[in-house]
């Protein structure tokens, strides 16, 4: 279908865009070794001192741990609430169905500062003091929709008759979920969960408003940027995060590719393969 010339130019374009995405990341990696606390170009003195500083700094560890904790809790909440909402919307017709999608996407579509202001007013009104839970609530508002959309899309592409068939075969609700729905949904959940975690991990605007005396990693970085005396530490931290997350992301991509729907082929083939997968369980 596509000519050779088109193929080559698309390949070149893709490589260039990927390079555009990664050049600043390369700069981050470079400046983790910057001997000066001021980020000027080019680097005149090199050091690994900042790695040791970051490693021994309890604030770095604390912030990283808190971000992971918040991300994990947020992702779980997003998975549960998002799947529930998606199941309701994809399978049933009820009054206000259209509104649900609209409502859920609001926190993502509205600027973070609005979500932050709204939540802070709510917390003040309800007398809820800032804590790790206010951070989680803030993140969960916009992470739910990410899971929701993935699951809805997945459910739309699979047949409702699967559940009927399962029930006809004598499975109760829990068994149906475990043996029929879960294999169908797992890739959508992995994809949604991954994006939700990423959104929560790097979130700074809503977090500055909803956090109390807690420092997530982005807040730690923001403080460092304001202060500037240990600036290369933020490059060390960002570089470390990229390296650390490369593996789970690659693994997750694997999961999505291997156990997911065979993507090419007609819709019927898709259904047939799914039915075969489930029958084999």
């Amino acid at each position: 279908m596509t000519g050779r010339g088109t193929r080559i130019s698309l390949a070149v374009w893709s490589v260039l865009v990927i390079a555009f995405l990664w050049i600043p990341l390369a700069i981050i990696a470079l400046y983790a070794f910057n001997g000066s606390t001021i980020q000027g170009w080019p680097i005149t003195s090199w050091t690994t001192h900042w790695f040791s500083v970051a490693w021994h700094d309890p604030d770095v560890r604390g912030a990283f741990e808190l971000s992971v904790k918040v991300g994990a809790i947020t992702t779980v909440i997003a998975l549960v609430l998002g799947t529930m909402a998606a199941a309701a919307v994809a399978r049933y017709r009820f009054f206000g169905r259209e509104a649900v999608s609209f409502l859920l996407v609001l926190p993502l579509a509205l600027p973070g500062i609005i979500t932050a202001m709204a939540l802070v007013s709510f917390f003040n009104f309800a007398g809820i003091q800032a804590s790790i839970w206010t951070i989680v609530i803030g993140h969960a508002t916009f992470c739910v929709v990410v899971v929701y959309n993935n699951v809805v899309a997945r459910l739309r592409r699979s047949s409702a008759s699967l559940i009927e068939a399962s029930q006809d075969l004598g499975a109760d609700g829990w068994q149906t979920f475990r043996f029929v729905l879960w294999p169908v949904l797992s890739t959508a959940l992995v994809a949604g969960g991954l994006l939700a975690f990423a959104l929560s991990f790097d979130e700074v605007i809503v977090t500055t408003f909803t956090a109390g005396a807690q420092q997530t990693l982005p807040i730690f970085i923001l403080d460092n940027i304001r202060q500037g005396q240990q600036l290369p530490v933020i490059n060390v931290v960002a570089f470390a995060v990229i390296v650390i997350t490369a593996i789970p992301v690659a693994l997750a991509q694997r999961v999505m590719r291997d156990t997911g729907v065979i993507r090419r082929g007609s819709a019927q083939v898709t259904e047939a393969v799914e039915a075969a997968e489930i029958a084999a369980v």
Partner: protein, 305 residues
């Protein structure tokens, strides 16, 4: 439902109870919908939508100038200040809108060929590699990436260093609106690539075969088959790029120059000491995104998010 009865009556009590419960819900699908939806929706409506409503209402109040307590006197004063032609606020809103639109366009142009290549032309390994390489930048801190761009765009930065090396003159890129445009495009690009990729990936081969069978050559197939099917993905990605640009205040602070105030900047400056005014100004992006979402839904973007 004789067959049901037969199944339910056998087995240990807990299983019978579960089957009975499942049957109960099965016969009343709306109850299941409600049950599934009740928790997330309740949390949402009460916490989020409710507080948005309160925010909107407070935009019609005023703030005591010294103690910053909100005084519940109804007035349109905040809106009058914002929409006054003498003030800077309309200009700031317009500038933000313009920036969001331009960034969205640029992201779409950059992302589409890449997503197309990944979804339809790349081999398995390349696709996996590109997918990871597009996703990973989202994990590196937004702030740190901004700082890297400062170093690249600065007067003595990487770009001018490279240009000078080629004998070309210095470019004045740092702290300009062009710089903001470049940086915004950069940070939101993965958000645009992923939905387009997902949308393109879903197009079955049989569609393209059929199109070819009907006599359409490459470009025609692209225009009439691929593009319409990919459009929801583009619109979905644009929701991200548009919304994220509309409310940001960090990039104007670190990358922008003297004419770079955006809606987020004003809201941030005012929210602690004059919440009603900040809320009033925040209504503008709320209205814009509300309209944008309605259009996006019509174009089918919600299925592609």
């Amino acid at each position: 439902m004789a067959a049901d009865a037969g199944v339910i009556e056998t087995g240990p009590p807990i299983r019978r109870a579960r089957l009975r419960l499942s049957g109960f819900f099965w016969r009343r699908p709306w109850l299941r919908a409600v049950g599934l939806l009740a928790l997330p929706l309740a949390v949402f409506l009460v916490v989020y939508v409710g507080s948005l409503g309160v925010l909107f209402i407070s935009s019609l109040w005023t703030s005591n100038s010294f103690t910053s307590t909100i005084e519940h006197t109804w007035t349109f004063a905040n809106y009058r200040t914002i929409f006054s032609r003498a003030g800077p606020y309309l200009h700031i809103a317009g500038f933000t809108l313009e920036m969001a639109a331009v960034v969205t366009l640029t992201c779409a142009v950059l992302a589409f060929p890449l997503a197309f290549f990944m979804a339809r032309l790349a081999g398995k390994r390349t696709r996996a590699l590109f997918f990871v390489m597009v996703l990973l930048p989202l994990w590196s801190s937004y702030l740190v990436r901004l700082y890297a761009w400062q170093t690249i765009l600065a007067h003595n930065g990487a770009i001018n260093w490279a240009l000078n090396g080629l004998g070309l003159p210095d470019q004045n890129l740092a702290y300009t609106n062009i710089a903001m445009w470049i940086v915004y495009t950069y940070v939101w690009l993965p958000f645009m690539v992923l939905p387009i990729y997902a949308a393109l990936e879903r197009i079955p081969d049989s569609y393209l075969e059929a199109s070819a069978d009907l006599g359409a050559r490459g470009w025609r197939t692209f225009r009439s088959v691929i593009l319409p099917l990919a459009l929801p993905g583009v619109v979905a990605g644009s929701i991200f790029t548009f919304a994220l640009t509309l409310g940001d205040y960090i990039t104007p602070a670190l990358i922008g120059g003297t004419n770079s105030d955006m809606i987020g900047t004003i809201v941030y400056q005012n929210f602690s000491t004059n919440l009603p005014f900040a809320a009033a100004f925040a209504v503008i992006p709320m209205a814009i995104m509300g309209a944008y979402l309605l259009i996006a839904r019509r174009l089918g973007a919600f299925e592609a998010l």
